[in-house]
Symmetry: C2
Subunit: 282 residues, 2 copies
Amino acid sequence: MPHELTLLEQHKVFDGCQYRYRHYSTTLNCEMTFSLFLPNKKKFSSPPLLWWLSGLTCNDENFTTKAGAQQAAARLGMAIIMPDTSPRGPEVADVKEWDLGQGAGFYLNATQTPWAAHYRMYDYLNEELYSLVQVSLGFTGPHAIAGHSMGGHGALVMALKNPHKFRSVSAFAPIVNPMDVPWGQNAFQAYLGNNRDLWSEWDACKLMADYQGTALPVLIDQGDEDPFLQQQLQPEKLVEIAEKVNYPLTLRIQPGYDHSYYFIASFIEEHLTFHQQYLQNA
Amino acid sequence: MPHELTLLEQHKVFDGCQYRYRHYSTTLNCEMTFSLFLPNKKKFSSPPLLWWLSGLTCNDENFTTKAGAQQAAARLGMAIIMPDTSPRGPEVADVKEWDLGQGAGFYLNATQTPWAAHYRMYDYLNEELYSLVQVSLGFTGPHAIAGHSMGGHGALVMALKNPHKFRSVSAFAPIVNPMDVPWGQNAFQAYLGNNRDLWSEWDACKLMADYQGTALPVLIDQGDEDPFLQQQLQPEKLVEIAEKVNYPLTLRIQPGYDHSYYFIASFIEEHLTFHQQYLQNA
């Protein structure tokens, strides 16, 4: 059954169009907003779809307005879907802190009170929105996934759990080992409780170490002036595991760049080109 | 005497750096913030400087984060200065409306109470900030100017009043005839009082009709889906005058684009390339 979608905004940008939609999510039990970029429909009737997952504090609009991805996407003929980072609304549990609650869903399914009632971002993306883009938005092409920081964690976890759904995965400054860094531990404790076995189901390092089936090409960019690099990110941990299990991962340390969208804007075209090479092949 | 500048932020972006500065403006009698993009200093030791003036409700960061201009500016070796759109602070007169007061300085010198105490954006840009970029930031190259909506009005007025200071001027969806459209009339009435002779000193149509001295090349882009086109913008009025007085103006109507930064992002590279051809020549 098609999902009921309300079009909130549309803007021509480069040779494509940026849309913003609202819909009621039966997975999250709340209204959700997402953004979608479509390249020129006349030139690209069945574009591949890149999922972009944003970081802590973001909603669907940060990447939309700040990354400048539409220029390359319009040229390459790539669609981009930009979901929100958590359930939203006055009925949805929240805290004052910016690294937990609304804007900080960590792309997992919460098991603990009061979070479990709404915080099921993994199922929302993996089932509801994945179905919506095909049934209601008519996407029939292949998918890839990318993200930033908490969204880099989300993209890696989503791809490692569902290698059949994506052709490739990339991340900017991802949280690769949330169960062993403060941001992740704080969130996993709240959303998942004390059981570290449950935590490991949402940890890219653990998932890659135990991966089975197809390995997807991974590109990670990390700025060496990122203030969160040492305590929260530590991408070399994932590189070490990738080498051990022979997973095709490229980590690029970019000198002078920080954690901001200025960093993302500087390399987003290269990420789109990276994905394009895998999305083009049947 | 060098101005005292406080560096608030800096971010590497593409092959350049985005800075944000704060300083006390003796013209505006308040603290002011501006942003500055510099291309790679090793490659471009004396870059030309493009002034960007933003529209209603904006501050220095809208263009910085949303226009994606740094990519082309880094490649071309062009610096960009992005001032705020009005004086700021609790001591500065303001109203609830978004089209008057803070965020809506209209790049003029107010004469009326309570605005005259702080609202002198024209002198701030034309004298204080123009001196600051040379004395304190060390710019020695040529200047160009551009802007959006109210900032397009500002860029045109600034260039028409000071053709010796700029090599070229461009605008996205500018207010070209503020004294005869609601946004401009509302602001001019408040800032300048009832004397329409005074209004005409801040109206690009009037200034171009009476221009003397050097004519600067002008490029204007206007989206035909812009909701403000008919009532507030009317660029054909300026085209008519330019044809009459033989002023070198190019107006491009861009089909499907609206008034947003998505429109600006789509054509900013072409504007930078337009300015570059005049900035390169000695």
